[in-house]
Amino acid sequence: MNKMKFAEAMSMVDDRYYEEAENYQRKDGKRTVKRPLMLAACLVMSLAFCGFAYMASVYWGSGPADGSSFEELTKPFGTISEDENAFTEVEDSAWTRSELISDYSSVYADHSAMYDLNGNAIPSVYFSPAWMVIFAQEDGAGMRLDSGDTVTFDYVLKNKQSLEIEMGYILNGQYYELSKALGSHNETVFQADEAGEYYFCLTNRSSTNAVIDHGSITKH
């Protein structure tokens, strides 16, 4: 009876949900094997034409936001900078995916960086489009949760940046999306369905660098 009522109700949901489901198109190249290859090809061409100095001239990647101005961190890609500190940031950035995730088929991010939590506080960091920042304890471990534990996960972007950021977590090699929002901040309350080591993370799904002002991951 339950399922019959559910089936009946699904026939009554608004037309727009049917239309959305019918007309949905995955984003170009998203989550396909071609995407990394295309990105790699674009990168090689960029390096060939502009030289490595170009890559060093912008804050492409991810790193601590403290010590750099917001304007520098969010400078449009392609803007030549004389800031030599940026070079370090690029070198330090790992052009690899996190090994915490074994299956990338459902993951938007192509790169990742891991940062230590300060207690339950998220550090102020920047991260480029398609980058994922993963938060861990100082010893690199994730957050141990038991089934039923509740966690509040929130962040605020600097200078009221309004960007699309995806919140998620990694558990047992699998990435799970929690929520995705366009705005300057977001908060989600998560309840663990199973015990395990959870790594909470943010993915930049916009087209400019995101700069985290502050945030927290709090277990209740």
Binding site: A9, S11, Y17, A21, Y24
Partner: protein, 186 residues
């Protein structure tokens, strides 16, 4: 292929070409939707034809916009009725499997609460779907409205079947919590 407005105009002029154009534009989608429920080609074809007849009788005065979801809902309802009528037969349609997997998410503790009406439940499901990302909402709709198998959903959204399966599991868990929090007992 005519656009929706032109097809509606044919209905209004009582031209039988309206059915032909409707079939050209949405016949494949309707056939697939019906087949996923009734699990029989002939039954699916009959359900779709019945849906066309219903549309013919309803338009005018009805002037559906969008036409796609309108005809899909008719096909869905007719197919569900057909399935119920023949439910003593096989239970291996995508509809049966999809409903079986979501049943646990709908079951609630023993309660004396009055049962919720389907229309009210539809509103609650809409609110729940608003909490999902677009991608997850599409996956949910393709599975429980269009009754599609994982393989088709996987191809549509560009995720592996395994990922679609995991996503749906989590969506069902989330929906269960959502319904319980709102004391919705089915």
């Amino acid at each position: 292929m005519l656009d929706d407005e032109e097809i509606i105009a044919l209905f209004f002029s009582r031209s039988e070409r309206a059915i032909q154009e409707l079939d050209i534009k949405y016949g494949r989608v309707c056939q697939k939707l019906s087949y996923n429920i009734v699990n029989n080609r002939q039954d699916a074809e009959e359900c779709v034809n019945d849906a066309y007849l219903s549309a013919w009788n309803a338009i005018p005065p009805a002037k559906p916009d969008p036409l796609h979801s309108y005809i899909c809902k008719i096909v869905r309802n007719i197919s569900l009725k057909r399935y119920d009528y023949k439910k003593a037969a096989k239970r291996d349609s995508v509809y049966e499997i999809a409903m079986h997997e979501i049943e646990d998410s709908l079951s609630a503790p023993d309660t004396v609460e009055a049962e919720i009406e389907a229309k009210e439940l539809a509103g609650i499901i809409e609110n729940f779907m608003e909490t999902l990302s677009v991608e997850n909402r599409v996956i949910f709709m393709r599975r429980y409205a269009y009754m599609e198998p994982y393989s088709d959903i996987s191809a549509r959204v560009g995720l592996s079947e395994k990922t679609v399966s995991v996503r749906l599991t989590r969506i069902r868990q989330k929906m269960r919590r959502y319904l319980i929090e709102r004391e919705v007992f089915l």
